[in-house]
Structures are given as structure tokens and as C-alpha cells.
Subunit: 234 residues, 4 copies
Amino acid sequence: MKTKIRAPFFETSVKNYIYGDAVLDYARAADAASKEHDVDVLFVAPYTELRRVRENTDRLIVLAPYMDALQPGRGIADVLPEALKAAGAQGVVLNHSERPMTLNAIRKTIDRANELDLLTFICADSIVEAQALALFHPDILNPEPTELIGSGNVSDMGYVREVIRAVKSIDRSILVEQAAGITTSQQVYDFIMEGSEAVGSASGILTSANPHSLLNEMIRSVSRAREDLAKRNE
Amino acid sequence: MKTKIRAPFFETSVKNYIYGDAVLDYARAADAASKEHDVDVLFVAPYTELRRVRENTDRLIVLAPYMDALQPGRGIADVLPEALKAAGAQGVVLNHSERPMTLNAIRKTIDRANELDLLTFICADSIVEAQALALFHPDILNPEPTELIGSGNVSDMGYVREVIRAVKSIDRSILVEQAAGITTSQQVYDFIMEGSEAVGSASGILTSANPHSLLNEMIRSVSRAREDLAKRNE
Amino acid sequence: MKTKIRAPFFETSVKNYIYGDAVLDYARAADAASKEHDVDVLFVAPYTELRRVRENTDRLIVLAPYMDALQPGRGIADVLPEALKAAGAQGVVLNHSERPMTLNAIRKTIDRANELDLLTFICADSIVEAQALALFHPDILNPEPTELIGSGNVSDMGYVREVIRAVKSIDRSILVEQAAGITTSQQVYDFIMEGSEAVGSASGILTSANPHSLLNEMIRSVSRAREDLAKRNE
Amino acid sequence: MKTKIRAPFFETSVKNYIYGDAVLDYARAADAASKEHDVDVLFVAPYTELRRVRENTDRLIVLAPYMDALQPGRGIADVLPEALKAAGAQGVVLNHSERPMTLNAIRKTIDRANELDLLTFICADSIVEAQALALFHPDILNPEPTELIGSGNVSDMGYVREVIRAVKSIDRSILVEQAAGITTSQQVYDFIMEGSEAVGSASGILTSANPHSLLNEMIRSVSRAREDLAKRNE
């Protein structure tokens, strides 16, 4: 059975900004914040750190940054789905803009993930690509709003609403995340208030002056927005 | 400083034939045989298992199956050299026939490995490619004799001698391994006796009836050949 | 303005089975059959033959087998959309199973084709991929039924109906072609009768005993099916 | 038999800066200058323009910008060597920095070119890569001096001499070209005087105010340098 995610949630990745022990430190900070604010946190760790992060944290939901669709056998440098699962990964990121995949590979790799009960976190570069990928029924869709670059806040929120509507019109159960250029906890709060089920940040945190502190604030913002939404809906 | 390798040595990889705990079991068997026969063993482990293999073995020399040349930063699904090093890798395989690289990427990635004191284990598809790559001065060259496919034993040995001569004429310090289709410990013995400084086997072992036992025999054959070579040279 | 296509139509490609003058001969045979049977024929020619095929035929609709999304400038070995247009191409094949593209590249390249009034002929590996690509509103969709391989005729026809329905439910104006393993003119006839707006064949024709004759028969079958459909609808 | 090249020669490419009729105009200008100054000119044309350039020029040596190693058959978007030959190409550029190739593909594609008597024009990113590729015995080597970027003129000439020596030490018959950032006819003259057997320019010409005029001047400079070298050697 796939790991259950409670929305709204937070997602972060170290990409390759840090490595080794710094990844574990960052994961522990994320885990502590996840528990402190009672917010689910998806944590994308490099292949080499997956097992260590999973074994040394309690509540993080650990994702691999990519995998191949291959079956056990040859493929010395390929990333085997079973190997990720065995290392403790609970899900996998696919089609990140830094590792775009062919449409066919996306579909086949989602199938492999589903076989192994790995959560599928799929990135898209536009609303229409998000809709196209929604037809494959991933667990989470993260549409990077390339249309949005250079635009102001108001259109941002229009984008958020439009992409959520576009994806949900195809499959209501897909969780929709916003993760484009998030650098402040206020943005995290605002996106959740606008209806986003998740917010993600990687570079925004890791290139900040105090990553662990900003990470905690952002996760707290998810909690705060959740409470304010609950009040609004009372 | 790079890890020192004593020739003749043995090299094995799990590719993606096995995963998770089975990799650790296989690594422990390799480590035990390495100690039992006093033979250096290079062990290529999947990214996810590098740290665990390194931490749970004493004598294995642990290699990653591939890496990118990128610097710390973006590149969510790329394999960062510093991450491999931090996970315990002592070297890296480059240009494996299952993950061919551009000439330029091979050169740049060797440079990155050297910066981090990672051993470079480079594969080549022919004698002339081995010679070309010898100009980049890797630590180990593994020329897969595609010319040899379908040929008999006699030409095999001619190939072994020719490829060693070709590589050594460019850089005497490069260690030359034979690893094409090795399935028996007798082949391991014969190749070392012929002048090969290393023999490798992955599929041949992992698709055999009793991998751990065959692995041990092959490593013992390296030891036996070393002794017989020493006697011959007395 | 894009070239208008009248359905039902026929599509063929030489892939790389033939080259040079043989491509022109084949194109002339297709052109003659197109005129003889009053059937539109899409002809996919290698880059090197696009201009010659276009200049030496009257009625063929000439397609390039692929293009990149780049703008004029660098990219010495890339296929520039403007260069195809200038050579006489009226459209382009994208995402063929022999040249799969990333989702993002497909979207951007469709945009480039639309800018230049080039017809977009998009391949998909399954019904769900066809649906996903339908969201990008290409002119023609060619879903290769990999689900179908090894199956009999009855399920084939079920597939045809299902894929047409799936694509049309998203965009009625997209023309849907069948081109999987077509080797006889009877299959061409049957697929058109079943509601397919186009049938394609490349390997099936070019590896046959008499390609020009089989090509003519297949194109005639499109005409015959068109007439029989007209009668049925009277 | 391969087309014979007389050194010193000039090489130019349109990359994708221009397309359609502008390519033919540029080719005609190159052809006229080739005849006027009695200098061999290698002209790299896009796939779509190869036949037209070859048929409409007298003296140009026409090269394709890339090819695959495949044999006739499938591979709809691949560039078949036989198709280039049939279109009039006399040679092919391989491993351009805008289309880097795996080491293995370079070797196999050189073999295919030799089978078809196509000249091989191979690019390298550094002196050591040029040396490595010299082992494959291409007809022409074009080492792009990435080491040189940002350096002054004196070290440039040191680079020219060093790369020529490095390549010739492996195979004296390989022609060595300089083509990095050439923007003036004086540079063309100086490189030939320094011992370079060829100079190339693409962007430098095509982004200049008057490309046809600069092209003519550069080709004239090859002739002038040839004469001055002859005098010097009297």
C-alpha cells in the first residue's frame, strides 16, 4: 500500500546543493518541523542518501529524484525501482525539468511505481502538460509555471486556480503542488490559502541565509494556512 | 589520496541483477573472499547501496557505477561526485557499454574524479578505444573485446596481450582488466597468467547456480595465478 | 495556412529502408496512385529528399520525419523548422517510436510547427498517450497500439474504435490514423470502414515483394472504402 | 575514392543561422571565392540543402553536419550514411560541440564513413581529445581550443603549434584545422602562416555585417598565406 499523504503538505529537495552529512542534517530539520507542526513533508533525497534519511527520520515521506522503468537485470547505471523501494523510498519524482522524460517513459515508469506502491510525484512545464499527465493518474502533480516567469503576484494566483481546476477536472484525487520560485513562508501560506494542496521549495531554502530556519517557517506556514482554512470553512 | 590497488585484483558488480539486502550479502561474500585469499576486490554497487556496502565491509574497494561531472548545485537527478565520495565510494566506473558517455564527458568526469581522489575505472569497446582513453590516464581500463565475440580461446589470448600492449605503450601505470563474458574461475586464472592485471565478472556470477561460491572460486583463482606467476618469475 | 487534408487519407514513409533515387521513384509511385484514386497521401521523406520529392510530385503532402524546436542560429546538427518549410515540407512527424521526445519538447515543437503552418503528425504508444497528446491539438494522431501486439483481428477493431473515441472526446478535429503492422490492402480497407480517418504503412510495403504495386493497392483501398462508406450512409 | 583536399583549405558552415535559398546564395559565394582564389573550400550544409548545394556549385567540397552509424532499415529520424552520399555529400562532420557523440559512436561512424568514401571531419574539445581521436585516423581534425577561451594571441599560437604537433605525432596524414572564434581574415592568414592546414569560420562570418564579402576575404587570405609560405620556403 502506498504511503498516505495528508494535504496540505510540504515538499522539499536538496537537489545537489548539499551532500553527505549535510543532507541528513537537513532531513532531520525537516523531520523535526514535520512533527512540530503536524504537517506531512515529502523529502527528495539523492540516491546515495535515501536509506540513511529514511532510517534516521520518523515522519518524512522519502522520495527518490528519478528512476528508470527497467526490470531487475542489466543496466549498471540505471536506477532500478526495486532498489529504491528496498532503500526505503516511498515515492519517486518523475519528469523534473532538470531530468525531462519521454512521454512513453513517464507512462511506463508510473506503471512500475504503482506495481511497487511508490508514490508518483510528476512535474509538468505548463498547464496543458499538467492536464496531459493527469491522464496517467499520478499521485501528485507539480506544474512548474513557466508561463508565469516574470509575471506579478495576481496572475500567479490566477495560475494556481487555473492549474488546480485543469488537473482536478481530469482526476479529483491528484494532489496539486505549487513549487515555482518559492522563497518565503508568506508565499507558502498564500498558495495554500488559494487552494493549493502542497507547496514545495528547494533552491529557495538552500540558497537562503538560514536554510533550517526558513524550512521550519515554511512548514509552520502550511500548518497555519490549514488552520485558517478550517476556520474559514466553519 | 586515492585508494591503492594491488594487482592482480578482481572486480565484480551487481549491476541491477540484485538489490537491497542481497547486495549487502553479496558484498560480504566478496569481502570475506578478499580477506581469505588476500586479493583486492573492486566492488561496483548501486548508488543506493554504496554507503551500506562500504560501512559493512573491511577490505572491498567500493565503486559507483557512474557519475556526472556537475558541480554542487542544481541537477536533481544527476549523480554528484562529492555525494559519491561522501557515501564512501573510492572510485567510479565510467563509459560502461550500458551507459556510454561522450568523449568530452569522459574527460571532464575523469578530471572531477581526480579532484576528489576517486579511482577511475573506464570501459572501452575495442582496442583502439582503449588506447584513446589511455591518453586520459585513468587508473583502470577495461576494454570489452567486442571484436572477440564469437571467437575462440586462442584469439582471446591474442586479444589480451594486444590490448595490454596497446594501453601500456601509452601509459604503463594504467591497470588493464579483462571482463568480457567471464563465467569460470579457470578463465580468471588463465587471463591473469596471460598478463592481465585484473579480471572482472558480474553477469557470469549472478546468473550462475551458486553466485557466492563461484565468486569465492574466482577470487581464489586470482590468488593462485599470482602465486604461479611468482614461481614462474623466480 | 496549413495544407488541407481530405479524409480518409493514406500515409507512408520510407524510413531508411531506401535512399537517394529510390525515394523519388517511390514518391512518384505514391503521387501517381494519389491522383489515380483521388486520395490524399502523406509522404514522410528523409531530410535530404524533402525538396526533391516536393518539387517532383504534384499531389503528395510531404512530411519531415522529425524536427527540433530551435530558432535560427547555432545547433549545427539540429533540424530547423524553417529549413524544413523552405525545403517544401508541409508537415512534420513528432514522437515517432523510433525517435521518442520529451513531453515538453513535443509541446514546444507543436508550437513551432503551428507558427510555420506545418501539419503536426504525432505518434503515441497507447490510448492514454494518444489522449494526453490530443490535449496539444495536433492535426493528426497516430496511436501505435502496443497493447495490440500479438492480438487477433477482433480486438484490433475494438482498439480502433476505442482510440478514435478517446481522441475525439478531447478534440473532434484531430484526424486519427491506424498504422500498426499494416501489410495488406484488405487491412487498409477494414480500418477505414471501421471509422479510421487514415491508414499508414511503411515497413509493410517496403519489405514486400512489390512495393509500388502494394502501395497502389493500399491507396486504392482507401478510395474503395470511402465509396462504400458513402453508400452505407446514403 | 574519397574527394582529395588540397591544403591549406578553408571550411565554413551555415549551422542554422540561415536556411533555404540563403544557404544556396552563401554556397555560391563560397564556390565563386574558391574558384577565384584557387582554394579548396569545405562547405557544411544542412541535410535539406546538401543536394541543392552540391548540384549548384562546381568546386565546393560538401559536408553533412552529422550522421548516424545505422544501416539501411528502420530509424525514421536517423541520418543514414547512404542517404547523405546519394544526396551528394562528400564528407561528414562528427562530434561537433553542438552534437557531441559517444566515443563508441564516433568510432563506428568513422567506419561507416570510410566504407562509403566520405571524408571525416572530427571535432575535439581539447588537445588530449584531439590526440585520442587521431587514433581513429579521421581525415580532418578540428580541435576547438576551449583551453584558449579568454587568452591572448600569443598563447593562441602556442596552442596551434601544440595541437598540430600532438595530432601529427599520432598520424601525419590527418589535416588539422583551426576554427575557434575566427572573425577576421587576418586571423585566417596568421593561423595558416603558423602551420595550420585549414581555418574555419561559421558564426564569425554569418553574424558579420557583410557575410559574403568577409567569406571572400577569408578565402583570399588562405591563398595569400599559401603564397607567402611558398616564398618563405624557397
